[in-house]
């Protein structure tokens, strides 16, 4: 009985996570410019990954694997926004312009004293 | 799928990989790319070894206390060693590329050959006097 619940819960989480991963990657593929794609990738990294990891944790029950999964999710939680930020920052420093941003915003970017 | 394919598809893809890596290594005119090609080539060979270690229905060769069918651990060991060798080669190759760039000002094979030729001519001219 418990196993069944475990299966259902973990399955749901897993599939939901997988769906978000897919959507996020679709965004990565579809969105028009680099800055926009960052957001798409963000979906994968956050909700998709975390949900899947939680799903796995549920499946694993109380064990060493769960602990490791928990650690993984923690680290992903810390590193993925950092990486995204670093990348965005690098792009900005190099002067990559975001598309579809109103002029004045671009000006904001330009006036940086780099 | 016919048996011949199911039994060997893995090898064939690995072989394709190997050929691609070798191709890049030989034809690329850029020294860095050559090294990367070499890496791909080596990786393909590693995968080849690991493929031949795979056992149908087997599992990672770590004893768990239950009787199990394990994939062959020996190629894994060999490839561990080979990967290390590969990394070492890559590091050394890249270091060489850096030095080449510093002394020649180019990391293109064509540029290098041209420079070497110039060296030769200069040496000949110096000694000719």
């Amino acid at each position: 009985m418990i196993e069944l619940v475990q299966d259902i819960v973990s399955g749901t989480l897993l599939l939901a996570g997988a769906a978000f991963v897919l959507i996020g990657t679709l965004g990565l593929l579809r969105l028009p410019d680099f800055y926009a794609r960052l957001h798409g990738a963000g979906i994968t990294d956050t909700l998709g990954a975390e949900l899947m990891l939680i799903g796995m944790m549920v499946q694993a029950g109380f064990s060493l694997v769960t602990v490791k999964l928990l650690l993984i999710s923690l680290f992903v939680f810390f590193t993925s926004p950092t990486a995204t930020h670093a990348l965005a920052n690098a792009a900005r420093v190099t002067g990559l312009r975001p598309a579809l941003v109103p002029e004045d915003d671009i000006e904001t970017m330009r006036t940086r004293d780099d | 799928m016919p048996e011949a394919i199911t039994e060997h598809y893995n090898y064939w893809l690995v072989i394709f990989l190997l050929m691609a890596g070798l191709f890049v290594t030989i034809t690329s005119g850029n020294l860095v790319k050559k090294i990367v090609g070499l890496n791909v080539f080596q990786t393909a060979v590693f995968l080849f070894y690991i493929s031949l270690a795979k056992l149908e229905g087997g599992t990672a060769p770590i004893l768990t206390g239950e009787p199990e069918r394990f994939s062959n651990p020996l190629p894994h060991v060999l490839i561990l060693t080979a990967i290390v060798v590969g990394v070492a080669t890559t590091a050394l190759g890249l270091a060489l590329v850096v030095r080449i760039r510093e002394t020649y000002g180019s990391i293109e094979e064509a540029g290098l050959q041209e420079a070497d030729r110039q060296d030769e001519l200069r040496a000949a001219a110096e000694q000719g006097r």
Binding site: I23, L26, H39, T46, T84, R92, T108 | -
Partner: protein, 157 residues
Amino acid sequence: MKHIVGLGVSLLAFWLVMSGIYTGLIISLGVLSVLLVLYIAHRMDIHDHETFPIHLTRGIFGYWRWLAREVFKANIDVARIVLSRRMRLSPRIVRVRSSQHTDLGHVILANSITLTPGTVSVEIEGDEIIVHALTEELAEGVLNGEMDRRVLAIEAS
């Protein structure tokens, strides 16, 4: 000192939960390893409050709960945009005030912004965070200052 002990304890815990093998040898090796890492951390000079924000533990879980909800909502929004046939984007760059007093606070805010899909912090400039947002609504979500307040709150605790 407080920080280094805190770091040590958490490292030891990390080892113990990871290890799963509790023989004398392994545990003693673990202790040695933790000591080594602490020594290196000491040399690296990274065992200040930023390394192991032990002082934040009280408020952080509450914040995470809130953040998780925000992240979830934003995710749905962005997912909808991605899935829509014509992606209606109005990307923009906005400057978000970041009223935190510490670097750590700024970082928590910036990372939280990045974590919520639809907004990515591009740069921290003084007391402002430059954010790229996918749509106007999403930009509003960070501009309203709610996140800033909450981060301030845990920072203060």
